[in-house]
Amino acid sequence: MTIFHWILLAGFVICLLSCLYHFFMALPAGKDIDYATPDAKTRQAVVYSFTKAMSPKKKETAFMHLPTYTAGIFYHLGTFLSLFLVIFIFFNVSFPTWLAYSIIVFLAFTSICGLSILIKRMTSSLLKNLSNPDDYFSNILVTGFQIITAIYLLLNTGLEYYFIITTILFLYLPIGKLRHTIYFFTARLHLGIFYGRRGTWPVKK
C-alpha cells in the first residue's frame, strides 16, 4: 500500500461515515410521526415510488426532456461504474483487454453525456439562473472522475492522479450537491410514505 492508497482509504472512510450520518438524519423518525389515520399501507407506495413512479412514461421531467434525461441516466451509470471500479483499481485487479476497452468506450460516452449536461447548464438561461458554483464544480469533478478512470484503464499509468481525484470526490460528496447520492433515496422514501398513507400512490390505473 502506497501513501496514495492510504489517502484514498481515509477519504473513503470519511465519505462513508458522513454519508451514513446524512442518511440516518434524513430517515423518518421522531418528529415525523403522522397522527392521521392512514388510508392505505405505505409499503406498496414506497416500492412504487422507487419503481413505476420513476418510469420515464410517468415523469414529465423525463418524457418531455428525453435527450437530457437519457444523458443523465448514462452519466449516472458511468459514475456508478467508475465508483465500482475503484475497488478493482485499489486492489490492482487487472481486466481482460476486451473488457477494459469496453469500459473505456462506455466511460468515454458517459463522460460526453456529463459534459453535455455541463454545457447545457452553462448555456441555458433557465439553468444559469438556477445554478450556483457547486453545480458546475460537482459536474466537473464527477466527469473528471470518469475521464481519469478511463485514462487509467487505457494507459495503466498515473495511479497517483487517479487516487487524488477519487479522494477529492469522496471528500466532496457529502458536502455539496453530490450528497443527493443519499438524499435521492430518502426523498423517494418520504414521498412514497406521504402519498402512500393518503392512498395517492400507487396509482391504480
Partner: protein, 445 residues
C-alpha cells in the same frame, strides 16, 4: 403591505429579532423529511413544465426548483457548515431584506402548493412542503399577505372565514330548510341544526351560506333522499382552514380543535367535509398532526359519502336528468394531496349521461390557480388569472358544457377563468349534479 414591512426591518446583514424567530422556526422543523427535501434538489431545471406558473409566464424564477432553492439557500447559510464557510460556492444566501422580499413573492405569489412538480420531480422533492415551511417562517415575521392573514383572522375571531354573524347564518339555513320542504313536498324534510347524537356532522364552506346557498340545498336534498341522521352546527361549521395556506400552525390547530370540540359536544360519529379541496386535506390529513393526536371520530368527504349512498342504493340517480357533457376538475389538495381520486368519477358517471375526462387528470392534473390561498391574496390576482390559462385550455379541449369540481375555492377560480377566457361553461359542485339527478321516492303514509 408585506413589502412595506420588509423595508422597516434591519438594513444590514445582522439579523433582526423577527428574522431570528423565523430561523429558529426553520431549525425546529428540521426533521428527517424536511432535511431530505432541503438537501435533494439537483438544480436540473426540468420541473418548469410541471408548474402552471412557469408555463403561463415563462418567468425563470417561478420554476419549482427556484422555489426550493430560495428556502434551501437560507437553510444552507445558517444550518450547514458548508453554507457558513463557503456561502457563495453553495449558493447559500443571507436572510436579509432582499431575500425576504424575494421569498414573499415566490412562496406566496408564485406557488399554489399544488404539488404537481413533486410528482414529476426527477428526485422527488416535496416542493409544497418546503413552500409551506417558508410561509411558516413568514408567519413568524408577521409577513403573511394581508388578504390571507385577514381570512385566517376572520375564521379565528368570528368562527368562519367570511365573518358571517350567527343570526344571519341561522336565517339562511331556516330559509333553505323551508325551501327543501317545499321542493320535496314533505313537511318532515328539514336542515337539522345543532342536533345531538347524530351520525353525521356536516361542515360548509362559508361562501355557501354567503353567496351560493343552492349548494347547501343540493346536499340537504341528498341527505333527505338517503334518510341520513345528520346535522349542521350553527357555531362551528367552517370546513376551510386558511391557516394551512398561510403556514400558521397555531391558527390551524385552533381551528381543528374547535371542530373536534364540536364533534364531541354534538356526540356526532362522523365528520363529513363539504366539497373543499384544502379543507379536506387540512382536516383529514394535517389536522391530527396540528393537535398531536388522532381523531376519535371518522372524517370523510361528502363526495365519498355520496359514493357510499350510490353503492348501497340509499339514493337513486337518473343520469338522463343531466344531459350536457360534463368534465371534472381534480382539486390538487383533495386528489394529489388527499388521495380522493376515483370516487368523484364514480359519482359523476352515475349522475350524468356524458362524462369527459380532462387531460391530464387525477394526480397529474394541473392546478386551476386558485389553490394555496391565492384567491385571498388580491395583490397576486393578475398572476393567478394568467396562471389559470393552463386550466382554461384543458377545459376548452374537453368540449364539455359543465365543469364539475368538489372544491369551492376551485369553483371561484374556475368562474373567473370562465369569464376571462370565455369558456362558455357552467361550473358546478358534484353535490349539485347529484341533486339534479336524484330520483326521490314517494313518501308512503
Amino acid at each position: 403591505m408585506a413589502g412595506e414591512k420588509v423595508i422597516i426591518m434591519a438594513k444590514n446583514n445582522s439579523l433582526t429579532e423577527k428574522q431570528k424567530k423565523a430561523l429558529k422556526l426553520l431549525k425546529s422543523r428540521l426533521n428527517g423529511r424536511l432535511l431530505t427535501h432541503l438537501n435533494s434538489c439537483v438544480h436540473c431545471g426540468l420541473c418548469g413544465e410541471s408548474c402552471h406558473y412557469y408555463l403561463a409566464t415563462k418567468n425563470k424564477n417561478f420554476i419549482p426548483g427556484k422555489k426550493v432553492d430560495i428556502v434551501s439557500s437560507i437553510y444552507q447559510r445558517y444550518h450547514t457548515l458548508a453554507g457558513k464557510v463557503a456561502p457563495r460556492l453553495y449558493g447559500a444566501k443571507d436572510f436579509n431584506d432582499k431575500t425576504v422580499e424575494e421569498l414573499i413573492d415566490i412562496v406566496f405569489g408564485a406557488c399554489s402548493m399544488c404539488g404537481r412538480c413533486s410528482v414529476h420531480c426527477s428526485i422527488g422533492v416535496d416542493v409544497p412542503y418546503i413552500v409551506r415551511t417558508a410561509r411558516s417562517m413568514l408567519v413568524e415575521m408577521e409577513l403573511v399577505s394581508p388578504g390571507l392573514q385577514s381570512t385566517v383572522d376572520a375564521a379565528i375571531n368570528t368562527g368562519n372565514n367570511m365573518g358571517i354573524p350567527r343570526d344571519e347564518f341561522v336565517d339562511t339555513l331556516e330559509w333553505l330548510s323551508e325551501d327543501l320542504e317545499m321542493e320535496v313536498e314533505d313537511e318532515d324534510a328539514s336542515i337539522p341544526l345543532d342536533k345531538k347524537g347524530v351520525d353525521i356532522l356536516y361542515t360548509l364552506n362559508p361562501r355557501e351560506p354567503k353567496f351560493f346557498p343552492l349548494s347547501i340545498s343540493a346536499i340537504a336534498k341528498i341527505y333527505y333522499a338517503a334518510k341520513e341522521n345528520w346535522t349542521l352546527s350553527t357555531n362551528v361549521y367552517d370546513v376551510t382552514n386558511y391557516a394551512y395556506f398561510s403556514g400558521d400552525d397555531k391558527g390551524a390547530k385552533e381551528l381543528t380543535e374547535r371542530l373536534c370540540d364540536e364533534m364531541s359536544k354534538l356526540e356526532a360519529k362522523t365528520l363529513v367535509l363539504a366539497e373543499c379541496g384544502h379543507g379536506y386535506r387540512a382536516i383529514r390529513w394535517e389536522g391530527p398532526n396540528w393537535i398531536e393526536r388522532p381523531y376519535p371520530f371518522k372524517v370523510i368527504s361528502v363526495v365519498e359519502l355520496i359514493g357510499d349512498y350510490i353503492r348501497s342504493c340509499r339514493i337513486k340517480l337518473d343520469p338522463s336528468l343531466n344531459k350536457l357533457p360534463v368534465t371534472l376538475h381534480d382539486p390538487c389538495n383533495m386528489v394529489r394531496g388527499g388521495g380522493v381520486i376515483e370516487v368523484q368519477r364514480f359519482v359523476i358517471k352515475n349522475a350524468v349521461e356524458n362524462f369527459i375526462e380532462m387531460m391530464p387528470n387525477r394526480a397529474n392534473n394541473f392546478c386551476c390557480g386558485g389553490g394555496g390561498g391565492q384567491l385571498a391574496m388580491s395583490e397576486y390576482a393578475e398572476r393567478r388569472i394568467k396562471s389559470g390559462k393552463i386550466k382554461a385550455d384543458q377545459i376548452r379541449k374537453t368540449g364539455a358544457k359543465i365543469v364539475a369540481t368538489p372544491c369551492h375555492n376551485c369553483i371561484d377560480q374556475l368562474m373567473e377563468l370562465n369569464k376571462e377566457y370565455q369558456l362558455g361553461v357552467e361550473i358546478k359542485t358534484i353535490g349539485e349534479l347529484v341533486a339534479d339527478a336524484l330520483v326521490l321516492e314517494e313518501k308512503s303514509n
